[in-house]
Amino acid sequence: MKLLKFSFAIIMASSLFVSCKKEDPLGPLENIPGLGGDEWVQTGIDKWIYDTLTVPYNIGVKYKWDQGEIDQDKTLVPPAESQIIPVMDAINKVWIRTYVSQAGLPFFKVISPKFFILVGSPAYDRGSIKLGTAEGGRKVVLYDINNFRIKGMPGYNPGVDTPGVIQMFHTIQHEFAHILDQNVRVPLTFSTSSANSYTSDWLNVTPDEAHNEGFITQYSISSRDDDWAEMLATLLVNGKSYFDNYVNSIDPANVTATGTTGAQARQRLRDKEAALVTYFEQAWHIDFYELQSRTRAAINNLLY
């Protein structure tokens, strides 16, 4: 018993020795480089972004190069400084203000992605060009900013530059459509009539084939989710008359290789449009056609 006590005492004592860990001073924490984000001397661009987007909507824009935000294995370049304000101003007019005036500030603040990354060049990917990506409903990466030109910018050529601008808004609306879907799921009725035509091999479907199958773009045939995003983006950015022409230009007598008739294709597009309008009404209390004409008018103001 004595021995046990003795050894217990030794163990206690030794554990004291073992635990005599010296406390290292933490050092000057305020000097950790990069802690709290990158720093640089603020310019007019930074102030404009802060005043126009960050204060009212809590949206940040990263235009300075940060490889950590984008594909690590792709050759990309940062945007030109002269492009930042024109691009973000256009986005403000076409996307932010239209949604805010149609659906209210709280809707937009809750749903909108909070972080834009701007990249100067397109992202080349297996022979195609990527113009935008979105992550987790929070971050949107926009590419090819250096080729953005609208009315009033030097060298603007409507015939050459308009498609790129339309494409950029299409990208934003496409990504925003995914975010809406992630917040309130789009009902299955949206894709019921198109369901058996989706294919992951969409790059080998021509735009004409997709058209005749009842899809708004080539990409929209890739999956239900992207069909939704492409429908919403095209309807908003290209407007109602474009969509009506697109539907009506399908020859009703046409039959595709997979057996879809022209009449079925037309009905598919109309079904999806109707489901989309209903979704906006029920999920978000937004009159879609009003939003559509507002968006279209804002784009026309920038381009013509």
Partner: protein
């Protein structure tokens, strides 16, 4: 029992005696303090250069470029670049920042002349789509190879090396004076071949492709087929530097400085590797492949096929000088078709633009017919106009007449083969009258 206790005790002693090594003597400051200090030191060095920095920027796929940088202490940098005639003389401001990535790093973080080279869009500086010239704009400092007056940078993405050297006041003044564009006077001599002579003794003819900054001299047969005789060049302050030495007779030439163009004599004087250099325009080259014209003509004739050109004649320094690309409905190319047809017993050759017909398909609607060419022993080929095939639309007539007439110049042309691909060779056909007009034929 005692043994067990003793053993136990000694084990405890061993465990308890893990004396900590005092590591404070290795570095007197924490890693963060040292990193902050390194970044501050790099910043002070960059912005502390009173007259800025001259730089050699190396790309993996497009040769080297000369840059001028002037950094300040509020994340702004002004630069010049030897990329083109505008970037060589127009200071452009953009931003930079120093950042602790894996090493202290220098980021050119908004678009600048540096990014033009790295741009994956081939419309910017060429290179492959998605890769550009494979250069960098995000670098780490290679301190081991740097000195007070030199900063070695290594690209973090493509691994290219950039060397910054502290500029002198004279160099700064020269940069701001536009001297980086001086080497472009090489393009003021409009002849196909430029004759470079070192010290009145050794000389060589050389063809300069301004668009890709490439210079090449003909091989023994008089054709531009030996890549080892060609090299990229870079604009430098007041001249040019060749990526590898150019062979000039028995000598070699690695750079040209103090370069000046004399408009009255249409010649350039310079200093090259310490010796006086003159460069003049060539009408008749030293080496002419006298068999090239018949080889060219027979290659197409033997297959019942034709040569194509996309942009027609380059004349007096202007690509597509006759604007054939603006012909109504131009389909992207024109053809020279040996023995296209027969008229009045003459087998004629046809030189014609391809235009779109009413349904949008390529068609041969009109063209100029020539009698069989005359191949001269000195390597010249002469085309003799016979007549016009088809009806030339009013809007196309001026261009048509210009191209028809240019091909029929009485002195004719010599030919320089530029690709010996067995299936699709290519030739330059150069005016023997003045050496200032030529056309590219592809098969």
């Amino acid at each position: 029992m005692k043994k067990i206790i003793l053993g136990f005790c000694s084990l405890l002693i061993i465990l308890a005696s893990c004396k900590k090594v005092d590591d404070s003597s290795v570095f007197t400051q924490s890693a963060d303090q040292r990193l902050t200090a390194a970044l501050a030191k790099d910043q002070a060095k960059l912005s502390g250069a009173q007259y800025g920095w001259k730089a050699l920027v190396r790309t993996n796929a497009g040769g080297n470029f000369t840059f001028y940088f002037s950094f300040n202490d509020s994340n702004r940098v002004k630069m010049l670049s030897s990329f083109d005639s505008a970037s060589a003389v127009t200071l452009k401001e953009s931003s930079f920042r120093l950042k602790a990535l894996q090493q202290p790093s220098l980021l050119f973080d908004t678009y600048s002349y540096l990014h033009v080279l790295a741009d994956p869009n081939p419309a910017s500086a060429g290179g492959a789509a998605g890769a550009g010239l494979q250069s960098d704009f995000e670098f780490y400092f290679d301190d081991a190879n740097s000195t007070d007056d030199k900063i070695e940078l290594v690209g973090r993405f493509n691994g290219t090396k950039t060397t910054l050297t502290r500029a002198t006041q004279a160099e700064r003044d020269a940069f701001l004076n536009g001297d980086l564009a001086k080497g472009l006077v090489i393009n003021k001599i409009l002849n196909y071949y430029k004759r470079i002579t070192i010290g009145n003794t050794d000389s060589v003819d050389a063809y300069v492709d301004a668009r890709s900054s490439y210079i090449i001299s003909p091989d023994a047969t008089g054709n531009l087929l030996d890549d080892s005789l060609g090299t990229n060049y870079t604009l430098t302050l007041g001249g040019l530097a060749f990526a590898k030495p150019l062979v000039v007779g028995t000598k070699t030439l690695s750079e040209l400085s103090n370069i000046n163009f004399d408009a009255t004599t249409n010649s350039i004087t310079a200093v090259g590797d310490g010796q006086p250099i003159t460069i003049t325009g060539v009408v008749t080259p030293m080496r002419v492949d006298v068999n090239a014209p018949s080889r060219w003509w027979n290659f197409a004739a033997g297959q019942g096929s034709y040569w194509i050109t996309e942009t027609g004649f380059h004349i007096n320094g202007v690509d597509d000088a006759q604007h054939i690309q603006n012909l109504p409905g131009y389909y992207g190319f024109s053809i020279f078709w040996p023995e296209y047809g027969t008229s009045g017993g003459v087998n004629y050759d046809l030189f014609a633009p391809i235009v779109a017909n009413s349904s949008g398909n390529a068609s041969l609607a009109y063209g100029a017919a020539y009698r069989p060419p005359v191949f001269n022993a000195d390597g010249r080929v002469v085309f003799r106009y016979l007549g016009t095939l088809g009806t030339v639309p009013g809007g196309a007539n001026a261009t048509y007449v210009a191209m028809r007439t240019q091909l029929a110049i009485t002195r004719g042309y010599y030919l320089v083969q530029i690709s010996n691909d067995p299936v699709s060779p290519a030739y330059h056909m150069v005016s023997a009258a003045d050496g200032k007009a030529w056309i590219t034929w592809l098969f």
